[in-house]
Amino acid sequence: MTTAVADAHAAEDHDDHGPTKGYKRWLFSTNHKDIGTMYLIFSLVMFFVGGAMAMVIRSELAVPGLQFVHPEFFNSMTTMHALIMVFGAVMPAFVGLANWMIPLMIGAPDMALPRMNNWSFWILPVAFGILLSTLLMPGGAPAGGWTMYPPLILQTGDAFPFLIFSVHLMGISSIMGSINVIVTIINMRAPDMTLLKMPMFVWTWLITAYLLIAVMPVLAGAVTMLLTDQFFGTSFFLAAGGGDPVMFQHIFWFFGHPEVYIMILPAFGVVSEIIPTFSRKKLFGHDSMVYAASCIAFLSFIVWAHHMFTVGMPLTGQLFFMFATMLIAVPTGVKIFNWVATMWRGAMTFETPMLFSLAFVFLFTIGGFSGLMLAIQPADVQYHDTYFVVAHFHYVLVPGSVFAIMAGAYYWLPKWTGHMYNEKLGKLHFWASTIFVNITFFPQHFLGLAGMPRRIPDYSVQFADFNLVSSIGAIGFGLSQLLFVAVLLTAKRGEKATDRVWEGSHGLEWTVPSPAPWHTFTTPPKARIANESFE
């Protein structure tokens, strides 16, 4: 393999057309690695912006009564926090990982549509610039929740059209990004890489990209209808004009539930790359993982109404959505057991990426179980719109998606920078994050079960203790993330990374030098691929 790969790289000393110098390198970049880096940096910035809003929320909720902000601004914070974290932090982070790693994993020289790749990134800062500018507008930023339910969202002030426009831009960016991923994976794989030989990260992204193509336009359609209701006299969702506000909820959640899997399937892919590496074993049940991910994607389209059990629907509808939702536990269970089976009798070591992946498996499962509880329709009537829901989706998204992104960042950082990161700092980041994330979100289960509603700036004194604990945890979690910035700032000070970086790593991305040259696989690799180091 080494010879074949060396041959493939022999033609890659492209000193004559390396990156352009200065800002033009980034503004006009069509290189998947540069665009991946920009996505990752952008998502980190948004993670801190959204995180700062979370700090405002948790500071206000630390004790009962109104402390720091007006209730209207508090509502803006919950709305903006969610929009920024979902569309600005988690999704772009996975797109960044995809940009960096998919071409390297499949032996392609770049993404298939590099100029569109540049567009899909640069639309994002514009979209979030517009969204964040609403904080300064008369009437304040949108405050009707990230779900944008009418008629409440139609009461937004001057910010309303800007919200709609920014959501459209985010959607266009995501759709272009996912078209690029699909086209790249379908058409640019190394000659002997058949579909089932693709690494799990590539597979999960392929499925995610199909989900994005199907559901982002649905969100765009929903917000377009909101826009015409507000400004062009239509009544899609206005009861006074014969419209149906509940229809918006159906359309929104037809987008919204697959969106959950858009944020978690690539996380499954990252973890499926890392666990075999640090267990020094082949991924257990690769093909079953592919089928499970496809199954999850399919089921994600037929469970949307479990988000709106309380709007009133026929009993048959309640039963269908309840059982369909529970069914998702089966393919998800396949994945969890496969990861455990991969680790079983493996020669495991616990470097930072593995620690984040292990925490992912444990803590995401907690989020999954609370999801099962919420799927039970009669119980959901009690849990709906309480802090139990907040605890549930934060367990899925923070120690789920965010931890997987962190795991991926630590795992591939040496390949990106050419140096090993500071392992002690990484482990400190891991332990601080894991401890504080549980202190933040676990008590919220109890608050929800005791009946504390979500999206309120003040609450009854009976909820005071758990809220204080949660707020302390949140501040701790926020500060812990500064350790990640320290890791990044010192990333090039560590010892030189080898090409393979990790003892147990396998796959094409580990055959290129560290740091990965600006051009890779200009000649399709002849190497046999897909798990061959374990065969």
Binding site: I179, I213, P217, M225, F236, G242, M247
Partner: protein, 36 residues
């Protein structure tokens, strides 16, 4: 597969994906129009 054919396939896959996205966008708005 030669480069020419690969480019053709890339264009075709991209156009199909874009058409699917457009169909979902227009389809859901049309559904709203029919209902209201």
């Amino acid at each position: 597969m030669d480069e020419q054919e690969r480019r053709k396939n890339i264009r075709r896959t991209a156009l199909i994906a874009a058409a699917v996205a457009l169909a979902f966008y227009i389809g859901f708005i049309m559904m709203g129009v029919m209902r209201s």
